[in-house]
């Protein structure tokens, strides 16, 4: 292909890319299974490449990895699902009791606080807080089924996501290689640099997040189980998923565990124990897990991170919050790289 033709193809590709971005924005509600599939693909594609490096076709690696992972996944689910169902049934059965306990707990706390600060009683502050908490709790409880159905439909989990992962793994970097073959010569090396930055940041971030989430799930479930707190596994899983959101994530798990523990035991001692347990998990995570995950730090300031998460959440919902950080890191890194290159 002559250079002028390649230039024309490149311009068309850029326009198509911008069109795709706009289309993806408009179709954002159906993006979730694709994002999850990409997430999983990034996580396991190094295994497939490893098998491919023995000289086998890519599909051999994909088939082997699929068989092994499906077996492991099925084994883990066989053990965990009965425990989880039991916890959910228990939660459903005891939900009214927990609600009552929680309100009584709020009442007792407000009485104690009013004894210390009598002025609060005069303005009826504690009643207002309890009333708002009741409303908030009821609203959250009503919303849970909506969240679950909107995030994961059964169709997505059972059919669509595994199918997408399979095809994404199978195609590997074919798309990338075709793109490089079509680029005009002048842009090849710059675009390879940009693509590598994107690949490196997203790959490391996604693998890092998944390893951390597994760590938080297992450690939270173990710690809460040892402390005898109800729904240890359920809280652990929620804490692990919430951990995907920087800053906010760890607080979600802690708050949930403290609430359940306080309601269950009605003592302050359990709150202290849970806080200590989460502090130990955070310490282990910061000092032993995160240093293992090379490049997990995406080199974004706290203000940019929070802005990216809020903006991502506003446009794409929960998954916007999760993916905002690597996307912002990619934009920053590409921008910095292009500026540096234009200066030299």
């Amino acid at each position: 292909m002559m250079e002028s033709t390649k230039n024309r193809v490149f311009i068309i590709l850029v326009i198509l890319f911008l069109g795709c971005c706009l289309f993806l924005y408009l179709a954002r509600t159906v993006l979730v299974p694709f994002l999850i599939a990409a997430f999983i693909t990034y996580l396991i594609s190094p295994l497939v490449t490893k098998i491919q490096s023995f000289g086998y076709k890519r599909f051999v690696g994909v088939a082997l990895v699929a068989v092994v992972l499906v077996s492991i996944f099925a084994g883990v689910l066989t053990i965990l699902i009965p425990i989880l169902i039991n916890e959910l049934e228990n939660f459903q059965f005891n939900a009214d009791k927990y609600y009552e306990y929680f309100l009584n707990y709020l009442d007792s706390i407000s009485e104690k606080i009013e004894l210390i600060f009598p002025v609060l009683k005069r303005y009826n502050v504690s009643n207002a807080v309890i009333f708002e908490s009741k409303d908030f709790l009821l609203y959250m409880a009503q919303q849970i089924p909506n969240y679950l159905t909107s995030i994961f439909s059964i169709f997505s989990i059972i059919i669509l996501i595994p199918m997408l992962v399979f095809f994404m793994l199978l195609s590997g970097n074919k798309c990338l290689k075709s793109l490089v073959a079509l680029l005009p010569s002048n842009y090849v090396e710059t675009i390879l640099s940009i693509l590598y930055q994107i690949d490196a940041i997203s790959g490391r971030y996604i693998r890092g997040q998944i390893i951390e989430a597994f760590f938080v799930v297992s450690m939270s479930a173990l710690a809460l189980g040892l402390l005898g707190v109800n729904f240890a596994l359920l809280i652990g899983i929620i804490a692990g998923i919430a951990n995907l959101i920087p800053y906010l994530g760890p607080i979600v798990g802690l708050t949930l565990a403290v609430t359940v523990g306080a309601v269950q035991y009605q003592t302050f001692a359990i709150v202290i124990k849970i806080v200590i347990a989460y502090a130990i998990i955070k310490f282990l995570d910061d000092n032993f897990i995160q240093p293992l995950i090379v490049g997990h730090n995406v080199n974004l300031g706290p203000v940019s991170m929070v802005f990216a998460m809020l903006a991502g959440g506003h446009v794409f919902g929960f998954f916007g919050v999760v993916f905002a950080v690597p996307v912002a890191a990619i934009f920053k890194s590409v921008f910095v790289m292009l500026v540096k290159r234009s200066q030299t």
Binding site: M2, E3, G55, K57, S193
Partner: protein, 151 residues
């Protein structure tokens, strides 16, 4: 017969061809087949028509180019160099983040294999022995060039 069918089904023959080609490149001399497979997996392939520019002087340089077929002309002022099939150019980009000092043009229809520096660095980071062999090959080639220029 069954063995042949299984081989056809499971063995990646395109990858094997690429390895056979990489073995002929002096830069990758003495590398094990396993290292060559890893190298083959990070290659990008591009075709150029006769007369097409590959890069210009001062363009950013972070790719090593291997000539699979065809012929490439490297020029700067009055200096001209020709890189034939199974030759390579842009090797300085493997060592440092630099800019091209030659204009590279395809003098015949050519197929080039591109190895991007950062991917190459990742590969040799995971296998120090491979990196050492390549650097040794590169050093001996530079030494040979220096000897020629001294004579």
């Amino acid at each position: 017969m069954l063995k042949k069918i299984l081989r056809l089904l499971f063995i990646d023959y395109v990858l094997r061809e690429d390895i056979a080609f990489l073995k002929k490149i002096p830069l990758f001399r003495k590398l094990s087949d396993r290292s060559l497979v890893k190298l083959a997996l990070i290659i990008f392939k591009r075709n150029y028509l006769a007369g097409e520019k590959i890069y210009e002087i001062n363009n950013e340089a972070n790719v090593l180019y291997l000539v699979k077929s065809g012929q490439i002309n490297l020029s700067r002022g009055n200096t001209n160099k020709v890189v034939e099939k199974e030759g390579f150019f842009g090797e300085m980009s493997l060592l440092e983040n630099t800019k091209h000092t030659f204009l590279a043009t395809a003098s015949k229809d050519s197929e080039l294999y591109l190895i991007y520096r950062a991917k190459f660095e990742d590969m040799i980071e995971s296998n120090g022995k491979t990196g050492l062999i390549i650097i040794k090959n590169l050093a001996s080639m530079f030494a040979a060039k220096l000897k020629c220029s001294e004579v």
